[in-house]
Symmetry: C2
Subunit: 237 residues, 2 copies
Amino acid sequence: MTTADPGPAQPAPRTARARVRLELTREIKDAARRHLAETGSAGLSLRAVARDLGMVSSAVYRYFPSRDDLLTALIVDAYSAVAEAAVAAEAVIDRGDFAGRWVATGQGVRQWALANLQEYALIFGSPVPGYRAPADTIDPAARVPLLLMSIVVDAVSAGRGGPDRDLPPAVFSDLAALRAQVAPSLSESILARAVMGWTQLIGSISFELFGHLHNVIHDYATYFDFHMREVARDLGL
Amino acid sequence: MTTADPGPAQPAPRTARARVRLELTREIKDAARRHLAETGSAGLSLRAVARDLGMVSSAVYRYFPSRDDLLTALIVDAYSAVAEAAVAAEAVIDRGDFAGRWVATGQGVRQWALANLQEYALIFGSPVPGYRAPADTIDPAARVPLLLMSIVVDAVSAGRGGPDRDLPPAVFSDLAALRAQVAPSLSESILARAVMGWTQLIGSISFELFGHLHNVIHDYATYFDFHMREVARDLGL
DNA sequence: TGTACATCAGTGAACGCGCGTTCACTGATGTAC
DNA sequence: TGTACATCAGTGAACGCGCGTTCACTGATGTAC
């Protein structure tokens, strides 16, 4: 399936200079990620990143024209990384075990989130104030939901999926548009439940990581697994 | 029902000084909230707040011993405010219409969130880096979920609530503890679904506000209403 | 009611810090002929 | 292969800004007798 792509498909670097540039770009992002883990997105500072790498702060501008561009790169990378994790977790499940595939996708996302808290917060937490996501973040952001949809598509083509339910007209028409784009074989009704399932996946992880189930749930892993199983059940997987 | 309390029940202020102090404390928080709406929590600055009020920055320290204390006050106020909104929306629904009460609670929260985006992000978005919520935030944070539980309690005592489902042992024991604390009349199974319903309520609003349903859903109000109705349905309300 | 003292709010200056971004520059690397 | 020129990475200084917090202080308000 898809792999993490480092931006719009570049030809392999020809010159030594180009190779060093790619490497340093990666090192800057790595340092920025380390910084992010400690300070959160709002505290991410170009100067601190430069200091970590032993460069002068103005040198970073040769690689990222501004702090926001560095943030964008981190966001795109985070979306790609979480999608990789989800894809890898889902890929090892028996293709006919649709509920298992849904749950595994969720677990992949959750494990990645636990290991990369601030990156998770960067993409699924509050938007960074003053930052506007450019269009390049759209495709990477869609990968996990598309993976989930593909599970539902497979399940439906295998005869699964519960009975349709009535949707309010406005919801129906929004989902009809989505259906046309991504999954013509699904009914609007089951597509609606899939979107809600995706919402629950992230909602449940956010509740855990942001502390809203503190003192309520202790064994989060089991709880999350159960939650995703309930979602799969509701989807008729 | 409960009303927004301005901290541990104070006797009405006796002296003019005390009255002015209360008023200025409120004005500082109001200015901070305005600031929050523009810059987000990480950018909230005592000096900027002081400037807004025409005071010197050190004067604010007479009211809040540090920036974090001001943040805590804003968080507590936000939890109280969202609870007020939820309670008000729920209170006008016919007591026997349990699904309607659940949906109305959600709508109350959503309306408040739309009108107070940054305050919503403050309590339901990414945690503020470096900030640790003190114990006084716990009670206000519990008010909306307790309201939701009370609806389920009422429904169950009226004979509603679907059949119980099996829970994994670890989930069962966590929920048994919760049950003992807040709702002895509910089964662990329905309590689990109520907790998940609460997760969906916030998850759905966060998805809307943080842009994850951009270009997918357009009529968010109808979609959210539908989502909450599905939750109520799953709860057997 | 009047006085003496204690409490408190607000001032203004200062400490020490970090930030994003620009700019003219040096020296190394790459390219065209 | 060798030379001349263009491109690029990294430097170091600077601009102009904002931040949280502390401290000694003045003057007004409140309290006890």
